[in-house]
C-alpha cells in the first residue's frame, strides 16, 4: 500500500512533496521492523519535524558501520543509529561523523562524554536461563559447572563481541584461563543473536548470551515469567547504543533536531517495550511494569571506546585459541 500512496503523492502533488525535507536514518534491522521502535519513532518525529523520516535497515550494528564506511562521504544517510561503544572508536576514526551539542540527564550507570555520539538506550549482557533452574553467579562458577551455553561468534555479531569484551573487562590478562574453563560448556557458537536464542528456546542449551532485559519481553509481551537472567558478581558488560550525525548530511539542522528528539520523552518512552532495552533517559512515566523484576548488576563494566578497539583483536585471538582446542 505504501507504494500506491507514494505513486498517488507523486501524481497529485509533486511540488508539495519536493518541499518536504527528508531525513534519512540508517539503523539495524530489528529497529525498523514493525515490532521494533521504528514505526512509532517515525510517527512521533514526523508529528513535530514537518519532515519525512526515512528509516533504512542495514543488518546489525557492525554491518551498519561497514555500510557507512562503504558509502563514505557520499552517503545518503544523515544519521546513523545503532552503533555501540565497541564500534564508536572505529566509527570516529572514519572522520565521517560530526560533533553534536545534545545535553541530557542520562540514566546510564556510567558518565557519558562523547563529542560525536548520543546514547539512546543501553542494556547489560547476561546469560538468560529458565527461571526454575539455578544459575552460576560468575564466569568461574559457570566454567566449573556442567551448564550448557550458546554464545554468538564475535566475528559476525555484536553480542558475541560484547561477551569477548565482558570477559576481558572483568579478567584482563586472566581472560584466556576463563575461556578455557568455559570451552567445555559452550554447546555451540552461532552467527547471530536470533540463531542462539532460537537454540536456547528449543532446549539445546541451559543458558544463552542475551540481555538482562530479555526476560522483560517474555514477562510483559507474553505474560510468561519462565525466563530469568543470571546475575554475575564480577559485573555485567554494558552495551550502550548510540546515534551520530554524518558530517556530510544535507539536512544538518534536521539531524540535530532528531538527535535532540532522540533523548526526549517521546522517543525514550517507546524504547523499553519495543527495543527491550533500558532508555538512556528515564521517561517521565518511569519504566514499564515488569522492568522492576529484572536483575540489576552490582557492577557495570564498560571499556572506554578507544580501549575496546585496542583490546578487540587480542581478545579475539584468545577466544579463538581457547575454543579451537
Amino acid at each position: 500500500m505504501k507504494h500506491l500512496a507514494f505513486a498517488a503523492g507523486l501524481l497529485s502533488a509533486t511540488a508539495a512533496y519536493a518541499e518536504t525535507p527528508e531525513l534519512t536514518v540508517y539503523t539495524y534491522d530489528s529497529f525498523v521492523s514493525d515490532w521494533g521502535p521504528g514505526p512509532a519513532v517515525e510517527k512521533a518525529f514526523e508529528d513535530v519535524c514537518g519532515c519525512d523520516l526515512k528509516l533504512v535497515g542495514a543488518g546489525d550494528g557492525a554491518a551498519l558501520l561497514a555500510r557507512v564506511k562503504l558509502e563514505g562521504a557520499r552517503s545518503d544517510a544523515d544519521i546513523v543509529l545503532g552503533l555501540d561503544t565497541n564500534l564508536t572508536a572505529a566509527a570516529a576514526e572514519t572522520g565521517l561523523f560530526a560533533v553534536h551539542d545534545v545535553r541530557a540527564d542520562y540514566a546510564l550507570p556510567v558518565s557519558w562524554e562523547d563529542p560525536l555520539f548520543v546514547p539512546y538506550d543501553w542494556g547489560y549482557f547476561a546469560f538468560v536461563h529458565n527461571a526454575d533452574a539455578d544459575a552460576p553467579t560468575d564466569f568461574k562458577a559457570l566454567g566449573a559447572s556442567d551448564k550448557r551455553i550458546v554464545i554468538q561468534d564475535p566475528r559476525s555479531s555484536t553480542p558475541g563481541l560484547g561477551l569477548l569484551l565482558w570477559v576481558k573487562a572483568a579478567y584482563g590478562d586472566e581472560a584466556p584461563a576463563i575461556w578455557e574453563g568455559l570451552a567445555d560448556n559452550v554447546v555451540t557458537v552461532t552467527k547471530g543473536w536470533s540463531e542462539a536464542y532460537g537454540l536456547f528456546l528449543e532446549g539445546e542449551a541451559d543458558m544463552v548470551l542475551s540481555y538482562t532485559t530479555s526476560p522483560a519481553y517474555h514477562l510483559i509481551a507474553e505474560e510468561d515469567a519462565s525466563k530469568a537472567a543470571a546475575s554475575f558478581s564480577e559485573g555485567h558488560y554494558m552495551q550502550v547504543e548510540v546515534a551520530g550525525k554524518l558530517a556530510a548530511s544535507d539536512q544538518p539542522e534536521l539531524a540535530d533536531q532528531f538527535l535532540a528528539f532522540m533523548v526526549s520523552d517521546a522517543f525514550q518512552s517507546i524504547i523499553p517495550t519495543t527495543n527491550w532495552m533500558y532508555p538512556a533517559v528515564t521517561p517521565a512515566a518511569g519504566l514499564p511494569d515488569g522492568f522492576d523484576t529484572l536483575v540489576t548488576p552490582e557492577k557495570s563494566l564498560l571499556l572506554p571506546a578507544s580501549e575496546a578497539a585496542a583490546v578487540r583483536d587480542v581478545a579475539l585471538g584468545e577466544w579463538l585459541g581457547a575454543l579451537s582446542q
Binding site: K2, H3, D29, S30, V32, S33, D34, W35, G36, G38, K54, L55, V56, G57, A58, G59, A62, A63, L65, A66, R67, K69, L70, E71, R74, D76, A90, R148, D153, P154, R155, S156, L161, V186, V187, T188, V189, T190, K191, W193, S194, E195, Y197, G198, L199, L201, E202, G203, E204, S214, Y217, H218, A221, T274, W276, L316, W319, L320, L323, S324
Partner: protein
C-alpha cells in the same frame, strides 16, 4: 568463415554466459577497486580453507553416495504418492538456514524427538554438534537435490533400452553394469561438483552445528573481513579463492563425466523387469522409507511448531510474502532467459567455459556480490531502489548452476536427435526452438523453474544489504521477527515460507510435466 550447420545459434547463450561471468567477476573487481591495501591472508584463513574443503568434500560424498540408491529405488518403483513424495523431498533445499537448523534440532537435538525416545530406554541424548552435525545438515539440504538430479539421469535412459536388456535376458546386475553405471558415470561427477560447491559457501550451518570457531569456513572469514575488520581486499581475496575452488571442482567434474547419452527412444514409460523380485522390492522400499523419514521428520517439526503462529500472522508477514512471490517470479523468468540459451549453447558443443561460468554462481559470496553491486550502483542511484531487482537477478544467477545441470543433458539429446532432421527440413532458428526444443524440454524447464522459484523464495542473500524497511522478503521478515523475540510468529512465517516455496516448486514442476508422464 564457414559456420557449422546448427539448428539454432549459440550466440545468445554465449552472451548470457558472458553476462553472468561479468556480474560475478565484475562485482568482485568492484570490491577490490574500493579496497584499501589489506593484510593479505593469515594462518586462520588457511585453516578456514582447509576446514571448508574437508567438510564440503565429506558432505558431497555422503549426499551423493546416499542419493544414488534412493534415486534408483525411486526410478524403479511406481507407487501411490510417489510424485508428491518427490516434490516434498525437494523442500529442505529451499529453506532458510535457520528454519532448517531449528527443524533438524527438533528431531536430532538434545531435547529432540530421537534423544527423548532414547531417554525412555535410558540412553544418553545424541550429540549433534561437530563435524558430523555439519555433514548431517548438509546431507539434509543436499540429498534431495542430488536425488532429483540423479533420478533425472535414470529417467533419461529410454525405456526401450531396459526392454531390450530384458529381452536379451539381462538380470539386475547386468542392467546395472550395462545401463546404469554408464549413466551414473555421466551424471554423478556433475552432481558431486554442485553439492561440493553449495557446501563450500556454507557458513551459518557450519558454524552453528560445527560447535564453535573450529568450524570456520571461507564464507565466515569473508564475513569477518567485511564486518569485523572492514578489510575489503581480504574479503575479495577470500571470495576469489572460493571461486577458484568451485571452478576447479566444476572443471574436474566436466573432465571426469564421460559418455554420450543413450540415443533416442519413444518416451515410453520405463518398466523395470529386474526389480520385480521381493528382495529388490524390499531394498527399494527400505531406501525410500529411510530417505523419507530423514527428510520429512524435520519438515514435520517445522509444521508442528509453526502451525500455532500461522493463525494470526502479522500483516507485515503477508506483505513480505507477496514481495517474495514477486521476486521469485521475476527471478525465475531471468533464470530461464539465461539458462535456456546457455544450455542450448552447451548442447551445440560450446561447453567448457559456459558451464564453468554457470557454476560460478554457486561459489560467489552473496556478501561480496551485494557489496560489489552496492559500490557500482551507489554513485548513480539509491541502492535500496534496486533492492528487489538486484535480489531477483542475483537469485537467478545462484540458481543457474542447478538449472544447467537439469537442462543441459536433455538439450544435448534433443539437438543430437533432431538437429540433423530439422536442418534437412530447413527448420532452424525460432521454429526449431518452438516446435522441437521447448516441447521436448518441458519437463526439465518446469523442474528448473520450480527449483529457481523455490530457491529465490527462501533466499536471504543480498536483500539484507539493500532493503529499507518498506520492503522485506519473507526470510528477512523471519529474522526481524526473531530479532523482536516473536519466535512463535517467526515459526508461523517459516511455515508459510515452506508452503510457498513448495507450492511454487510443485506448480512449476507439475506444469512442466502436464500430460507428459503417465
Amino acid at each position: 568463415m564457414a559456420r557449422r550447420a546448427e539448428p539454432v545459434s549459440a550466440a545468445s547463450g554465449i552472451c548470457a554466459a558472458i553476462a553472468v561471468a561479468a556480474l560475478i567477476l565484475g562485482t568482485l573487481c568492484a570490491v577490490v577497486w574500493r579496497a584499501e591495501a589489506g593484510s593479505g591472508l593469515g594462518p586462520s584463513d588457511w585453516a578456514a580453507l582447509r576446514f571448508t574443503v574437508f567438510q564440503a568434500s565429506l558432505s558431497a560424498l555422503f549426499s551423493v553416495g546416499l542419493a544414488i540408491p534412493v534415486a534408483r529405488a525411486l526410478a524403479r518403483r511406481r507407487f501411490f504418492g510417489r510424485r508428491l513424495l518427490i516434490g516434498l523431498l525437494g523442500a529442505p533445499f529451499i529453506l532458510p538456514v535457520i528454519v532448517a537448523i531449528l527443524g533438524l534440532l527438533e528431531v536430532f537435538g538434545r531435547a529432540g524427538w530421537i534423544s527423548t525416545a532414547l531417554g525412555w530406554i535410558g540412553v544418553e541424548p545424541i550429540r549433534i554438534y561437530g563435524l558430523h552435525g555439519v555433514v548431517l545438515a548438509h546431507v539434509f539440504f543436499n540429498l534431495p537435490l542430488a536425488t532429483r538430479l540423479i533420478l533425472q539421469g535414470w529417467q533419461e535412459i529410454p525405456a526401450e533400452r531396459f526392454r531390450l536388456a530384458a529381452q536379451l535376458g539381462a538380470d539386475g546386475r547386468d542392467m546395472f553394469r550395462l545401463l546404469e553405471v554408464p549413466m551414473l558415470r555421466q551424471v554423478v561427477p556433475g552432481v558431486l561438483a554442485v553439492v561440493f560447491a553449495i557446501c563450500l559457501t556454507s557458513f551459518a550451518v557450519a558454524l552453528t552445528l560445527g560447535g564453535g570457531p573450529r568450524a570456520t569456513t571461507i564464507e565466515l572469514a569473508i564475513y569477518q573481513a567485511f564486518r569485523f575488520d572492514f578489510d575489503l581486499g581480504r574479503a575479495a581475496l577470500l571470495s576469489g579463492l572460493q571461486l577458484v575452488l568451485t571452478g576447479l571442482a566444476a572443471w574436474v567434474a566436466l573432465r571426469v563425466s564421460v559418455g554420450e547419452g543413450f540415443g533416442g527412444g519413444l518416451d515410453r514409460l520405463v518398466r523395470r523387469w529386474d526389480g520385480e523380485s521381493p528382495g529388490a522390492r524390499a531394498v527399494d522400499a527400505g531406501w525410500i522409507c529411510a530417505a523419507a523419514a530423514f527428510l520429512l521428520l524435520p519438515l514435520m517439526a517445522i509444521v508442528v511448531s509453526g502451525a500455532p503462529g500461522l493463525v494470526d500472522l502479522p500483516w507485515a508477514v503477508v506483505q513480505a510474502a507477496m514481495t517474495s512471490i514477486g521476486v521469485a517470479a521475476a527471478s525465475t523468468l531471468v533464470l530461464l532467459l539465461l539458462a535456456l540459451p546457455m544450455a542450448v549453447a552447451v548442447a551445440l558443443g560450446h561447453g567448457g567455459a559456459i558451464e564453468i561460468s554457470g557454476v560460478l554462481g554457486l561459489a560467489a559470496s552473496p556478501l561480496v556480490i551485494g557489496t560489489g553491486l552496492f559500490v557500482v550502483i551507489h554513485p548513480f542511484a539509491d541502492p535500496s531502489d534496486f533492492a528487489l531487482i538486484v535480489t531477483a537477478v542475483v537469485n537467478a544467477v545462484m540458481a543457474l548452476p542447478f538449472a544447467l545441470r537439469i537442462l543441459v543433458p536433455q538439450a544435448r539429446s534433443v539437438v543430437a536427435r533432431y538437429g540433423k532432421l530439422t536442418l534437412s527440413l530447413d527448420m532452424g532458428g525460432w521454429p526449431f526452438v518452438r516446435r522441437v526444443l521447448l516441447p521436448r524440454m518441458r519437463a526439465q524447464i518446469g523442474f528448473a523453474a520450480g527449483l529457481a522459484a523455490a530457491l529465490s523464495m527462501g533466499d536471504l542473500g543480498v536483500i539484507a544489504l539493500f532493503a529499507d524497511h518498506e520492503m522485506a522478503t519473507l526470510p528477512l521478515q523471519i529474522y526481524r521477527l526473531m530479532g523482536a523475540y516473536r519466535m512463535e510468529a517467526a515459526a508461523g512465517a517459516a511455515l508459510l515460507l515452506l508452503g510457498l516455496s513448495m507450492g511454487a516448486f510443485w506448480v512449476l514442476d507439475r506444469g512442466g510435466r502436464w500430460h507428459a508422464e503417465a
